[in-house]
């Protein structure tokens, strides 16, 4: 039997990488896929923020002389049926995807947290009512509910964000409620009560912070699905209205017709959607492993 090299074992387990830059490099080595995901997400956010600098043309400017031009040195990814530059539209499309992704995840998660916290902490009839509402919202597939919501609200960016956020509420509130129910019974809550702390202060200052890890994990997982839902809604013509360059919308413009004549119109927006969602999924998985070890698979 060979002797155990304690130094290398400790190093492998990350014992001396507890904080700062060392910790980051340790995690990056341990979660390679997650690091790739983070890298994709950083590029995605950076593209959205500096779209005006990266895009080579105005994404909305129509150029009838260069309709359906195939990719070349001038139009890197070709042009669409209005002669608009596909590269510039994809770059600007990152803004819409990011806005919808972050906007609807944040909105859905915050409402879900409030409902879950109230439901789990107050219990009784509040819980009963919220539970039934959750049942109702969960009985409809995400896309169906989002479709009806966005049809009801009308196509616009804020309405799309709301339409996608509402179906997220039950998922988040269920998780927060389950966590709150478990936390409520723990001694530190009892201690807080015994020193006369108000219920709302206990709920927000003591219970809520302890539900943060699962919440962050859940929100990251939902980010990808909100981006996908926006793409689907816009693809069906019920999300972001023309002329804004939404990736889903770019595919919808009778994409099936262009399959023959202009494949670049079909390929590139799809690559953009898939990459953005893939990045958030990779990162979300690693985050779950780090923050929520019980779920580690």
């Amino acid at each position: 039997m060979s002797a155990i090299n304690y130094d290398s074992e400790l190093k492998r387990a990350g014992a001396n990488a507890t904080r700062g830059w060392r910790r980051l490099t340790f995690l990056a080595q341990r979660y390679v896929l997650g690091t790739i995901g983070l890298f994709i997400m950083v590029i995605f956010v950076w593209t959205a923020l500096s779209a005006d600098l990266i895009a080579r043309f105005d994404p909305l400017s129509v150029d009838s002389a260069h309709r359906l031009a195939s990719p070349d040195a001038r139009h890197w990814l070709g042009t669409d049926s209005f002669g608009r530059d596909v590269w510039s539209r994809i770059i600007h499309g990152a803004r819409i995807s990011l806005a919808v992704g972050i906007g609807s995840t944040a909105l859905g998660a915050s409402i879900g947290v409030l409902i879950g916290l109230a439901s789990g902490y107050l219990s009784g009839w509040v819980d009963l009512i919220f539970q039934r509402i959750t049942d109702i919202l969960q009985a409809l597939p995400l896309l169906v509910l989002a479709l009806v919501m966005s049809a009801a609200l009308g196509p616009s960016l804020p309405n799309t964000i709301i339409a996608i956020a509402i179906p997220l509420i039950p998922t988040v509130s269920r998780v927060i409620r389950a966590n709150t129910l478990a936390l409520r019974e723990l001694p530190f809550v009892e201690a807080a009560k015994s020193i006369g702390m108000s219920e709302s202060r206990i709920a927000f200052r003591h219970v809520l912070p302890n539900t943060m890890a699962p919440l962050i994990v859940l929100a990251t997982a939902q980010l990808g699905s909100t981006i996908l839902t926006e793409a689907s809604l816009s693809f069906l013509g019920l999300g972001i209205p023309e002329p804004y360059p939404s990736w889903g919308r770019m595919l919808s413009e009778s994409a099936a017709e262009y399959v023959r004549v202009a494949p670049w119109l079909v390929i590139f927006p799809g690559v953009a959607i898939s990459l953005a969602v893939f990045g958030t999924n990779l990162f979300g998985d690693a985050l779950r492993d780090i923050l929520d070890p019980r779920q580690r698979g």
Binding site: L33, A139, V144, A152, I273, V277
Partner: protein, 315 residues
Amino acid sequence: MFAYIVRRLALMLVTLVGISIIIFVLLRIVPGNIVDILFDAAGFVDPADKANLEKELGLSQPIIVQYLQWIGGLLHGDLGYSYVSEKPALQEILPRIPITARLAGLALLFSASIGIPLGVISAVHQGTRLDYALRVLSLSGLSLPSFWLGLLILMASVSLFGTMPIFNPNPQTWAEAFAIYAVPAAAVGFRSAALTMRITRSSMLEILRQDFIRTARAKGASERSVNYRHALKNAILPVITVIGIEAAFLIGGLIVTETVFNIPGVARFLVEAIRWRDYPIVQNLVMFIAVVVVVTNFTVDMLYAAIDPRIRYGD
């Protein structure tokens, strides 16, 4: 058990009534109804004609009366008339259901027959390159929009065969039926196969750590028998839940895929009806979807108790 089933059925009823109210109200806060659309298209507006048409379609009545009429009709099997085709909504919806059901069934078959074995392989080879590759594959399955996958398939078909599959309600040959149903079903099923694989993997990993697996190995059971007979049998429960939930939620993927492949099923019909503000079709279709989801959830829970003797409800 009996009390539990009664309670569940009562809750299902509450949920469905809740959905009917929400959908009904949502559809009626939409700015502009079908009358507006028709009159906009015609280019002129005679207020008297418009009021007449609204009255004829029952849109001028108070919303509560409209709701009660719809529910009353629903209980008698009368779903109202489509505003667009003016045919009974039931006649419009019923013939489209088998098409979507066939697609959904095939997609689930695809998802289970690909997802479960790959999930087992991934779990058994945990930490190896094969596991990594399969995990990346399943994550990419969750990241590809299914309508884009459909478009890529169309593109491949154009470059390989020079043509696209066109939907034909009565396929003549086996190959045609395959192109019409199996290909779109695979495009939808890819995502749920990825999900099934993930769940199978994590469920298998949990089971493989348990004592009875070690016992099985110790008594000399073959690797194959341990993985598939001992472990998978115990790991399958969460997988069934996911497949069950996916069965109902597949409709999201079917909506876009039926649109891409131009398949006249209920899922694409829902989008068309929403665009046309064809309320009778939309509200009945959404109710239909909700019933499918609620009944599937219930069935999965019952299946749980049937498969796993440790699970007893209501004791």
